[in-house]
Amino acid sequence: MAYEGGGDRGKAERFRAAALPYLDDVYTLARYLLRNTADAEDAAQECYLRAFRHFETFRGGPIKPWLLAILRNVCRAEYARRGALTAVVDNLEEAENKSDGLWSEAQSSPETETLQRLDGESMQRLITQLPDAFREALVLREVNDLSYREIADVTGVPVGTVMSRLARARGLLRTAWLAEEKGP
């Protein structure tokens, strides 16, 4: 009994100490992926419950990618619930198939043009408007500060795909940014 009790208490305490410091990271990714506050809160809560339940399966190493991978699964379930999963896939495939178009679009913006500083909210809005796969890669890199390898693990794609998605995401973002500066 004493052993079991100690184990339970130990688990809860270890989990708190390890996982709770990353709540802002989890919540941030949830906000970008789900695009609204209430769903993001629900997803973050569900993520922590799942993470606690499966804490035994956590094999050490950085816990942030592990938590973000769980959150991503929660968010995908939420996409499915919304019936938006097909839309996400279509969105992604369409974007990847039209890569030439997107690239030429990005390249058409003057490379020498310096980006004007935007306020945080505007930047957040621009990122939120990126297609799902690109948004996800960009947020994991620029906001959650994950390495390519970690992003590949979280999103279940090869590192090369992470790299090309990031390239695409930045191209799209830069174009949108310049358009924002010029105004409607």
């Binding site: 009994m1 079991e4 009790g5 339970d8 208490r9 809860a12 305490e13 989990f15 708190r16 709770l20 709540l23 802002d24 990271d25 989890v26 919540y27 941030t28 906000r31 993001a40 809160e41 973050a44 809560q45 922590y48 419950l49 606690f52 690239w103 490379e111 020498t112 043009e113 310096t114 980006l115 500083r117 935007l118 306020d119 945080g120 930047m123 957040q124 990122i127 947020v139 890199r141 620029e142 906001v143 390495s147 390519y148 790299m163 090309s164 990031l166 390239a167 930045r170 973002l173 830069r174 940014w177």
Partner: protein
């Protein structure tokens, strides 16, 4: 390095994901290619702008509290574990007590049955107590039990198998009248006590030795069989298996 390669690789460069060799390649290409050089500069600019802006969201305090409540706290776990410990502890001791009681009771009853069977066996060996019906014919012995006991014991002639049927009698074991079928092996007597059992499944024979007598018990067709004899274990085992074989054969016909 081509421009197409550089366009993607320059992102790995600004993300510090390239090894020294590849980093140098991309930088060399960008230095010699106006378009790629401009791109590298513009994405470094973008990156800096993103880093400068606060793109993170802060989890609302209510969410933090709610998660905090959902993950078991040390205090809550303590209480629950304590309760679980108590509940489990009392369950365990209750089960242990019950099994102890069961064992004690069973051993009590078992021992009584065994000792009564041995007493009956010893009594039977005294003059004129062995059989109530003296016959080597199973068709004489079997009907004799009708109306004397509330069960129909299998009476089987095992003379061909080396166990001679010599008769039957009624005895008392565990406060109940039981049918006894008597066999002889050379100069040794085998008393087979047959009582009403529970269930109809065949239970594997158990051999015990009590007060120098061998006792073989098994259950078949809802009847408890108990054979007592001073013959050795091997022969008593042989008796048991021959009896069961013949009983099965008799049922089959």
């Amino acid at each position: 390095m081509t421009c197409d390669e550089a366009e993607v690789m320059l992102h790995a460069l600004i993300d510090d994901e390239l090894d020294a060799g590849h980093a140098r390649e991309v930088e060399t290409h960008a230095a010699g290619c106006a378009r790629c050089g401009a791109q590298l500069a513009s994405y470094r600019d973008l990156r800096q702008a993103l880093r400068g802006g606060n793109l993170r969201y802060t989890a609302p305090p209510s969410l933090r509290r709610s998660i905090d409540r959902a993950v078991p706290s040390a205090a809550a776990t303590d209480r629950r574990t304590l309760l679980k410990g108590f509940a489990l502890g009392s369950l365990l001791s209750a089960a242990a007590a019950a099994s102890v009681t069961l064992v004690v009771l069973r051993e009590d009853r078992d021992e009584r049955i065994l000792s009564e069977a041995i007493s009956a066996h010893l009594r039977s060996l005294q003059a004129d107590h062995l059989t109530d019906v003296l016959s080597t014919d199973q068709h004489t012995v079997k009907p004799w039990f009708n109306g004397r006991t509330d069960l129909a014991p299998p009476v089987i002639d095992l003379t061909a198998q080396g166990f001679t049927l010599i008769g039957g009698r009624l005895d008392f074991i565990d406060g109940k009248s039981v049918a006894v079928i008597v066999y002889r092996r050379r100069v040794h007597v085998i008393n087979l006590f047959v009582t009403q059992g529970v269930g109809s499944s065949l239970q594997a024979p158990r051999m015990e030795t009590v007060q120098g007598f061998n006792i073989l018990r098994w259950t078949d067709q809802g009847l408890n069989m108990l054979a007592v004899s001073d013959i050795n274990r091997e022969e008593l085992e042989e008796f048991g298996s021959k009896f069961e074989q013949a009983a099965r054969a008799a049922r089959a016909t």
